[in-house]
């Protein structure tokens, strides 16, 4: 086994950190005011929504700065708030764990969250969610849900026990459900929300079971105690917990085989896609695994499964991303694929936890930027999402083009932009694995880089270059397209995020800033030497493969005119990719259809046997209830008889117990 830095004992929070609860309280307060305040808050609700998140960000920044001033071994703090559920053996206290890992997330959530709140002021300004009337009720509701999400997400990352994490986990699930279904009048949105909800439940069951197992084995769910005593658990249980946590992570982060909900979730408003389904919530799975690193450190088999899932997902996401024409779906599958990278990274163990978080951060910047860019394009194009109707938009929306382009370059790993550093490190760490693993995982990661370059270049080409295919066309609601640049409240966040995409990587990477910062939470990064390929070759390999991808995309898409409707006659791989690599079919074959058969078989058995039993019980209960009711005759004397009879029986029983 690798040696790793022992997880540090937390100190009690002091100074600025004592007010850590503000982080959670502020957005939740905003949500409560907006939800309970009703129409009275319509006029200024969005401003309050932004203010609470910005305030939380400012506080988070202050907290972060105060923490940088401390020595590394004092950076892990716990803030005890109150005993939450003190029932006998189960004693859950509600406390916050303020350490480098959670601080990174706090800054990401509140920072990106604040930008996206500001962006939404413009984006949602005319939204009526399909209703008539000219008030701002829908926008207020939207901001309330967003605030709720931010609060829940902060509970998730700040909690100091698995139960608190679960609370936040369900909270973000709820917020995500509400926001996907925000445009309830669209059947697709309602269906997508339901799908997200159900698939998340599958994952949540895994997480809940993992927590139960922990409690049954150790009698506690606090991080400190669980991690300190993780070694006491038998390996089998440890593996089970690791796999169940992974199941939870797969559900929330859209990993194989539960990835299908995430692209559908793009039915929600674009800011939601950017914040929840790209930058923050979907990365909760990565957080969960990174946070549980002392558990994963102890089970190599568990880590191996995590790595396999990550590698599989990153390829699946990238391949499907190549085939879609819907700009948001492409970005969604790109997200699936990038989170695959992160999961792959955290599955590598001490060598990769911090790298996963690193990629998560840079991805948070550029993917949020890309989504906001996509939203800006849609804003200017009558909410069109089909890329075959775009083309040549670079001139019409220059700011969007530049910021989107920078995000694109960062994503495909253009040298010295943020994606270059984080992705290369993951690929390198994957290659550094021993034996076949190095080749397989490294190869998958490298191949994924090439595919990423291909589908993103395709997206860029179809959207911003080439013919103006929208000319003379009309959108679904019968309007002509008049592409235009978006207002400042939308472009400014995009510009800020573009800066992050460009400089984020180098800022965090140089001098091991981020990796060193995360050491108290995740242990030191073990730079494994050797492995399948020498470390120095990796950047060239990745950049080279990406260049090949770009070139291919240009050859296949950029040089030829793009048909305005998708060609029906396509080769098998394209068909497969268009069908989500049969992900839904797979789910259906693997789960739904056996489920149906099982249900049918069960129904058969049910009708014959169980139903008889259940109906029998129901009839027995109902019948006995009906008959026993008759005993309630309404006559005082019969009641008195029941009391007397009861008294005689009770006394007789007591005496019998005593004297026999």
């Amino acid at each position: 086994m690798e040696t790793f830095l022992a997880v540090q004992e937390p100190l009690a929070a002091s100074g600025v950190a004592e007010y850590g609860w503000l982080l959670i309280a502020l957005p939740l307060f905003g949500a409560a005011v907006l939800l309970l305040g009703g129409r009275r808050t319509n006029a200024w609700g969005h401003l309050l929504g932004c203010a609470t998140v910005i305030a939380a960000f400012v506080y988070g920044l202050a907290l972060f700065l105060s923490m940088t001033g401390m020595p590394a071994d004092e950076r892990v703090r716990e803030l005890h708030l109150f005993d939450w559920i003190p029932v006998n053996a189960l004693n859950v206290e509600f406390g916050l764990r303020i350490d480098p890992l959670s601080m990174v997330f706090v800054l990401l959530i509140t920072g990106v969250g604040a930008l996206i709140h500001i962006y939404s002021v413009g984006y949602m300004s005319h939204d009526q969610a399909g209703r008539t009337g000219a008030d701002n009720t829908e926008r207020r509701r939207f901001f309330a849900y967003l605030n709720l999400f931010v609060g829940a997400m902060l509970i998730l990352v700040l909690g100091n026990s698995f139960v608190t994490l679960y609370l936040g986990w369900e909270g973000v699930g709820l917020a995500s459900y509400l926001l996907i279904a925000f445009w309830q009048h669209r059947p697709a949105a309602a269906t997508a929300a339901k799908k997200a909800f159900l698939m998340n439940r599958v994952g949540d069951v895994g997480l809940a079971l993992a927590i139960f197992l922990m409690f049954a084995e150790l009698g506690t769910t606090q991080y400190t105690e669980v991690f300190a005593r993780a070694g006491e658990m038998p390996t089998g249980v440890l593996l089970a917990i690791a796999l169940l946590l992974l199941l939870g992570a797969c559900g929330k982060s859209g990993q194989f085989p539960l990835q299908a909900w995430l692209p559908d979730a793009m039915e929600g408003p674009t800011p939601v896609s950017a914040l929840i389904h790209a930058a923050t919530m979907v990365t909760a799975g990565v957080y969960l695994i990174a946070r549980s690193n002392p558990i994963y450190n102890l089970t190599e088999d568990g880590r191996l499964v995590v790595t396999i899932i990550g590698a599989l997902t990153l390829l699946i996401g990238a391949i499907i991303g190549c085939a879609y024409d819907d700009i948001k779906k492409v970005l969604a599958y790109s997200t699936v694929s990038q989170i695959g990278y992160m999961i792959l990274a955290v599955g590598l163990g001490p060598a990769g936890y911090a790298l996963g978080i690193f990629h998560l951060l840079t991805h948070g910047f550029f993917k949020a930027g890309l989504f906001l860019g996509a939203g800006s394009v849609m804003h200017g194009m009558n909410d069109e999402v089909n890329m075959r109707r775009f083309g040549g938009l670079a001139k019409h929306m220059p700011i969007t083009f530049v910021t989107f382009g920078l995000g694109y370059l960062a994503l495909i790993g253009f040298p010295f932009l943020s994606g270059y550093f984080s992705k290369d490190e993951i690929v390198a760490a994957a290659f550094a694995q021993e034996g076949w693993r190095g080749w397989v995982f490294g190869g998958a990661a490298a191949l994924g880089a090439a595919l990423t370059a291909f589908y993103m270049t395709r997206l860029m080409l179809m959207t911003f270059f080439g013919e103006k295919r929208w000319k003379g066309q009309k959108s679904a609601d019968g309007r002509e397209y008049h592409p235009h640049e978006s207002p400042a409240s939308m472009t400014v966040p995009m510009i800020v995020l573009a800066f992050g995409s460009v400089f984020g990587g180098v800022l965090l990477y140089s001098g091991d800033r981020l990796l060193g910062w995360l050491e108290p939470s995740l242990g030191a990064v073990a730079h494994a030497e050797g492995g399948a390929l020498p470390h120095s070759v990796i950047p060239f390999l990745v950049v080279g493969l990406s260049a090949v991808g770009v070139l291919l995309a240009w050859l296949l898409v950029g040089r030829r005119p793009v048909p305005a409707t998708a060609p029906a006659q396509v080769s098998f791989p394209v068909r497969a990719a268009r069908a989500d690599l049969y992900g839904n079919a797979l789910n259906e074959t693997l789960f739904a259809r056996p489920g149906t058969w099982l249900t049918r078989a069960l129904v058969y058995v049910d009708n014959r046997g169980v139903d008889g039993l259940v109906n029998g019980i129901a009839a027995l209960l109902g019948g006995s209830s009906g008959r026993l009711r008759r005993a309630q005759t309404g006559f005082v004397r019969s009641y008195a008889l029941s009391i007397l009879g009861g008294a005689v029986l009770l006394t007789a029983a007591l005496l019998m117990v005593r004297f026999t």
Partner: protein, 99 residues
């Protein structure tokens, strides 16, 4: 003379009272049977006080009497009010609430 006989008598009176509650129809009589039960208890209390050689039981009997008197007043008031509306003091007629 053993005090046990008094206890026996008390138990008998109590049982008669309890049975009376079950078999009589007139609310007033039912209530009188309850009073009989209370007074049977009084007899027990006094007897036990005698057996234990102290006065506590007798004082308790006083308390029981007072409480019983209060109960009588409240009970008769209720029975009378229902008699006024129904023109019947039979407990079996009070049978709207059932099942």
């Amino acid at each position: 003379m053993t005090p046990t006989y008094y206890l026996l008598l008390s138990a008998l009176l109590f049982t008669i009272g309890a049975v009376g509650v079950l078999v009589r129809r007139n609310a007033i009589v039912v209530f009188m049977c309850v009073e009989l039960m209370l007074n049977a208890v009084n007899l027990s209390l006094v007897t036990f006080a005698r057996i234990n050689g102290e006065l506590d039981g007798q004082i308790m009997a006083f308390f029981v009497m007072v409480v019983a008197a209060a109960e009588v007043v409240v009970g008769l008031a209720i029975i009378m009010s229902i008699f006024k509306t129904r023109r019947s003091a039979s407990v079996d007629d009070a049978n709207l609430l059932k099942y």
